[in-house]
């Protein structure tokens, strides 16, 4: 799994590549919370285009990011969900709580 951040328009994009599971979700949680809490990012967009698999620990990291973003008054968005990732979010009934976009352009346009 690889994770990197970059600036795009007036948002910070977190690019994740690979499977998200118990082995690496702590790293994803750390990067997301660092952006929100320490760097005070006001618009965080998570790119899941290259994520084929996500488990409940990965979903929990995203939920925690969402909750912290609300506390900090930031926006937290997802885009590029693979069918498998979307299925997992739907199964956990949490897809409704996220702002989900099809592409980076759509997400950035909504910022």
């Amino acid at each position: 799994m690889q994770i990197a951040t970059r600036q795009a328009a007036n948002a910070t994009v977190v690019d994740i590549k690979g499977d998200i599971d118990l082995y690496n979700s702590p790293e994803i949680r750390k990067v997301i919370l660092e952006e929100l809490k320490e760097k005070r990012t006001t618009r965080l967009v998570v790119n899941l285009t290259n994520v084929r698999y996500i488990d409940s620990s990965g979903v929990a990291s995203l939920v925690e990011g969402l909750k912290v973003s609300k506390t900090m008054g930031s926006r937290f968005m997802l885009f590029g969900l693979s069918p498998a990732a979307r299925e997992v979010l739907e199964l956990s009934r949490l897809i409704r709580v996220f702002e989900v976009f099809g592409s980076e352009a759509e997400a950035l346009q909504a910022v």
Binding site: L22, D55, V59, S92
Partner: protein, 138 residues
């Protein structure tokens, strides 16, 4: 001999992706469709992570035994560990109306599998799960 695949792994999350591949391939070999293979793999994966986190409390050198068996109508998966057991009633999953991280894995397992039995014994914990193949024409 029945059609059985047995694996033993350490409770190290690094190996989860390897075991996922084996489970998905086994489910495919015994006739499950692509989507069901993904679901079965997710359920077993979630059960393994529960063992790593809650039975072994993050210790990475503890044994987990995985047994996959083709049954007449589907698949039976048995996971054995020797960590701390929980009361079976604690494995019911949690209501999902409360949006918070954690507690999702058990819900996913119960949503995906047709039957889930958990039994803590003196020397081991045993989680037994079944999923039926879709009837022809489904």
């Amino acid at each position: 001999m029945d059609s059985v695949l047995k694996l033993t792994m350490s409770s190290d999350p690094r190996y989860l992706s390897v075991v996922r591949s084996a489970i998905e391939r086994y489910a495919s070999l015994i006739g499950f469709g692509e989507e069901d293979c993904r679901w079965i793999t997710l359920a077993v994966h979630e059960a393994l992570t529960n063992i790593m986190r809650h039975a072994y409390h993050g210790k990475e050198d503890q044994p987990i035994e995985i047994s996959l068996r083709e049954t007449q109508g589907g698949i039976e998966v048995v996971l054995l560990d020797h960590g701390q057991g929980v009361r079976p009633e604690e494995l019911t999953g949690r209501p999902l109306d409360d949006v918070r991280p954690g507690g999702l894995g058990t819900h996913m397992i119960r949503e995906i599998m047709d039957k889930v039995d958990y039994a803590p014994y003196a020397d081991r914990n045993e989680l037994r799960m079944w999923k039926a193949k879709p009837a022809a024409g489904d």
